[in-house]
Symmetry: C2
Subunit: 192 residues, 2 copies
DNA sequence: CCCATGTGAGACATGGATGTCTCATCCTGG
DNA sequence: CCAGGATGAGACATCCATGTCTCACATGGG
């Protein structure tokens, strides 16, 4: 416990702050650093000690989102079994992070010129690969590109997260609504 | 031409400014008033003469978006013919405004407490009615609520607009991608 | 016990966007 | 030609979020 630093509190707090910030920014993406701090139950000074500025906070949030996404990707074991079941597992696993992802998704829309975190490219690639596999196995229709299906998945997750947070959709239906809508469109219709 | 006011330029310019601002804010939602003005080819002073502040501009943009939406709703004649064809017509008609709608959709997410324009409620209701009609006629599955289908339509339009603007999807495929994905999910599968 | 570290509260300066105002210019219609 | 409205350029003042710093406190370990 010597070289680990002062105490174990720092890492714990950092994670707690991060998750609180994610929850707040999901609802109000323009929240002030002060609001973020108060939401986490700490002062603005302490918040700034952990994350040097809003940029750093958002970047940390991005890293968290990427990590949770990749964890979900791993846990869903995308290359096993039918692609449609893999999509279902993916969405189920990723649901807890949907709010954070929605925030980051819209946030990234205004990064325009700047290069974005390479993690997103890896994630995009893995999801696209899943849809491609489904197309090659004949499960998914081929007139919708994997890139579009991936983008649509992001859009539906954002819509779903917002709809839930505004009470237009029950939280318990989240996964079902998204899976059914996305798969119903992505699955090739069975011929009569 | 006497009581119409000074000259015809003002109204024309107002519309031009509005559309330019819509195009810019669609790509960069944090654009400065100065950037908006320069994009429209006018000075910040003149922009401020037409729209007293950013709030007023966004509100005007919102009114424009609502007007275009309702025009699309009218033109699509939602209560005629099969519901699935009506959905197709709606998306086709609404496509030109998709970028603006995407901007307003995400913008509205942070209006949190404030009451939002009643126009959105009317539009939501008309779209939900369309999905409800499709469910009652047996065209659409009933396990996805009209509210969710409406929300999903917004989300897919936003995703589609962004995907097109970033070159991940061809602009000419916009309507097809959205209609096929949404309807494929909303349509009841034909029993084998 | 006493010191070190983390923290909260708050002051202060800074920067960026915005609202407002003035003035010179331009154009157009009478 | 001339007067009035509209515009562009720019100067300011202001507001708000942010970055930075100081100081007092408390808490826990040596």
């Amino acid at each position: 416990m010597s070289h680990m630093g002062y105490c174990c509190l720092m890492a714990v707090d950092r994670d707690h702050v991060l998750r609180t910030a994610a929850a707040l920014l999901t609802r109000k993406s323009t929240a002030t650093m002060d609001e973020v701090a108060r939401a986490a139950g700490i002062s603005r000074a302490t918040l700034h000690r952990h994350f040097a500025g809003r940029d750093a906070l958002v970047r940390a949030l991005e890293a968290l989102g990427i990590a949770e996404c990749e964890a979900a990707l791993d846990a869903a074991r995308l290359h096993e079994g039918p692609a449609r079941d893999a999509v279902h597992r993916l969405i189920r696993r990723i649901e807890p992070a949907a709010g954070l992802l929605a925030f980051l998704y819209t946030e990234n829309q205004l990064f325009e010129g700047e290069e974005q975190n390479a993690g997103w490219a890896r994630i995009d690639e893995r999801i696209e690969a899943l849809f491609r596999r489904g197309q090659q196995s004949g499960e998914f229709r081929i007139d919708l590109t994997p890139a579009w299906l991936t983008e649509a998945l992001y859009g539906l997750m954002a819509s779903g997260a917002w709809a839930v947070s505004e009470g237009r959709v029950a939280a318990k239906d989240f996964t079902h609504m998204i899976v059914e809508l996305l798969l119903g469109g992505a699955l090739r219709r069975e011929e009569p």
